[in-house]
Amino acid sequence: MSPLARAVEALLFLSPEPLDVDTLGELTETDGLELQAAIAEVRRHHGEGSGLEVAEVADGLALRTRASVAAVCDRLRERPREDVLSPAALETLAIVAYLGPISRPEIGKLRGVAPDAVVASLVERGLLDEAGRDGSSGAVLYETTVQMQQRFGLRSLEELPPIEGFELTGDEAEAIRRRLLDAGHLDGQAAPDA
């Protein structure tokens, strides 16, 4: 394959979305016949005999798996994935479920760990969603989603088991928050700066 075709192949491989010819041209700094020839080359490389193909979809060109390998791909999709929630993810979900809507800095304070990556992954997985902004700090607030409730078999958040010694009404959530902070939870270290 020509260097240009290799570049096109790599771009189609990496891009999560179809790339239109113009974008491919911009990225590779080429256009016209040269680019068309490179695309054709990638197409040939991923011809009938291959597991992948270059497809023209609505928004451009995409590398995708061929129909003939659909069955094995489905098996990969159905495989119990590493969708198991990590302890970090579970703790974060619990905090948001019991104390949300709540901002990332606050989650961080309660967990004693920067929660950005965990929150991002929970949002990506559809278990958390943004819920406006905090009035005073302007930080994005998060809440759990319907999907989260489905996943845990909850008809509503009220079905969450009560935290021992607390009743889950407005002010009590605040009391739990305090308790977690005062306990230097959950990090086994000195209490975060409350």
Binding site: G100, P101, S103, S136, P192, A194
Partner: protein
Amino acid sequence: MAPPPPPRHAVSGATRVPDPLRQPIDLDLFEGPLDLLLTLVLREEVDLLELPVSGLVDGALGQREEARWDPATAAELVLLLAAVAELKGRIMLGEPGDEEPDQDALDARERLAARLIAYAPFARAAEWLGERAEKGRAHRYRRVPLDDAQAPPPEPGDPDDLHAALQMMVSREAPSLAHMARRKASLPEALRRLRDALGRGPEVSFDEHIGDAGASEEAVALMAALELSRAGEARLDQPRPLGDILIRGTRR
């Protein structure tokens, strides 16, 4: 759910500006306000060699990005802490020209040396990793979540299949409907059959008469028997409850 409380670290307006020197410091060695700790250090009542400077910095400046102090206050604190660190460094290493470092200072240096020696392998491993990073640098991995991947097209259909399907329908013989003859249970027919049976013998067993006919035929046969009885053509006798019914003709 209650709205989240305002951030508690915020300097709470003009009402009460916290004093950075009065803030509580919580270390294994000491617990109390920062200014008291510094006083004790200067009076040599707290051994600076035992005082973890990193813990002191964490305690005084906090670890998170949400600044607890305005920049000017933070800068003063940083200066103060730097002075403490420098002081500790001098005690540990001695002033140039010092003749005899005291035993504490020697012990502290010994501990520092031990730590540096223990840590050295990891610093070297980090160097190795740094060089190694070149190896992975130039490669990119696809990070498209499985569910977001372009779905493959559905298994392509073959036009020949369409042709074959229609061809089969066209060439198929008209199906025989013989087996679907409607079974009608008619009362006149049942009456006729029962009269025929009574013509062949003095009595007819109802069970034998209906044989394995279906439920509707059985019901109509019973109606026919009752009809003959009503018309005086037959007498019905059922010796046992739910048992067979004997039908006897009266026209003999």
